[in-house]
């Protein structure tokens, strides 16, 4: 059976660290960084490769930070 895999690109400098996206991720892919971006926010980072490209994170992000890819392998 085809497996769905995904990946996201996070535009770190646009991220405001609101954490709304991690709350929406079904696979616990997202956490906040220790470092801060140019605006001083802890930005969101990927902490595993379990993304399924569901777009939940991108859809709830108020700042259009996340680009989503999805493929069947």
């Amino acid at each position: 059976m085809a497996k769905v895999v995904g990946d996201i690109i996070i535009d770190i400098e646009r991220c405001k660290g609101c954490e709304v996206c991690n709350a929406a991720c079904p696979n616990d892919v997202l956490e906040m960084s220790q470092e801060v971006n140019g605006k001083g926010y802890h930005y969101v980072i990927k902490v595993n490769a379990d993304c399924i490209g569901c777009s939940n994170c991108a859809v709830v992000c108020p700042d259009a930070v996340i680009t989503v890819y999805r493929a069947k392998v």
Binding site: V20, A58, V60, A64
Partner: protein, 264 residues
């Protein structure tokens, strides 16, 4: 090097399923982290991109946190005096009927100082879309009580909570405009979860499609957090909204195709 978990083999154009719409500019929005205004802007912009009406759309921005909406929407936007957006939108639509015209207004703008403009534009059935962001508070000016503030809800001007004995009850203006014959589509949605966001986008799409068909006024209320005004983190603010706003401001369609929806 730190592990990035990037999968470059998946990041190809044919696998792209979501990216920022071209109907938003690249300007970073001034909204507080996690504020629903950003999400609502994005949904309006996505609908306009998907309908291919970017060059035919004119938005009317309010006074409130979204006063600078013209910096973010990548199409024409006129900023209106406080509460007057529906009157300005009426004029634009009547002069340029081939354009898609919408207002974007907060609850202080739409349901306090602009109550008359709101009700009369709805009653006249102007062929426009009104996008109404209800966060139950005056965000921009420092979290004062709004007509939409819930009973018991603390704000900077009701620090012990809204006392309905002296301050009156919250105004459900969406229920009021739904009763007016001029409104064609009236709905209340939210932007706190992926499912809610997707539903809100469908409602906005329906609203703009109605305008295309000259159906009259479509009114889309979006419940949204003002986490700064509510003095909660964004995630906690969204939870507070579910627990406190939703029981009072029930989500769902109030009127579709000019027919009231009976919720009982």
């Amino acid at each position: 090097m730190a592990q990035t978990f990037d999968r470059p083999e998946i990041q190809t154009p044919e696998n792209l399923v979501y990216s920022k719409t071209t109907c938003l500019t690249d300007n970073v929005m001034h909204y507080c982290p996690g504020c629903g205004h950003g999400t609502a802007h994005r949904l309006v912009a996505e609908v306009i991109e998907e309908m291919g009406i970017q060059s035919e759309t004119i938005g009317v921005a309010p006074v409130g946190c979204s006063v600078l909406a013209y910096n973010y929407f990548n199409f024409d936007v006129q900023q209106a005096a406080h509460g007057r957006a529906p009157a300005v939108a009426t004029a634009i639509k009547r002069l340029l009927p081939e354009k898609y015209v919408f207002t974007y207004q907060g609850d202080g703008d739409l349901a306090a100082i602009g109550t008359a403009e709101t009700i009369h534009a709805c009653n006249r059935g102007e062929n426009i879309v009104i996008v109404f962001i209800n966060n139950g508070i005056y965000g921009m000016t420092g979290g004062q009580m709004a007509p939409t503030t819930l009973p018991g809800m603390p704000t900077s001007t009701s620090p012990y909570g809204r006392d309905v004995e002296t301050m009156g009850n919250p105004l459900k203006i969406t229920e009021i405009v739904a009763m007016l014959p001029g409104t064609h589509f009236v709905t209340r949605q939210a932007v706190h979860t992926p499912a809610a966001v997707r539903k809100t986008k469908k409602s906005l799409r329906m609203a703009f499609e109605n305008q295309k068909l000259n159906k009259g006024l479509s009114f889309v209320e979006i419940l949204s957090n003002c986490n700064s005004g509510w003095k909660l983190s964004p995630v906690k603010a969204n939870k507070w909204m579910v627990d406190n706003m939703f029981p009072f401001y029930e989500l769902g369609d109030l009127k579709v195709n000019g027919e009231m929806i009976n919720k009982d």
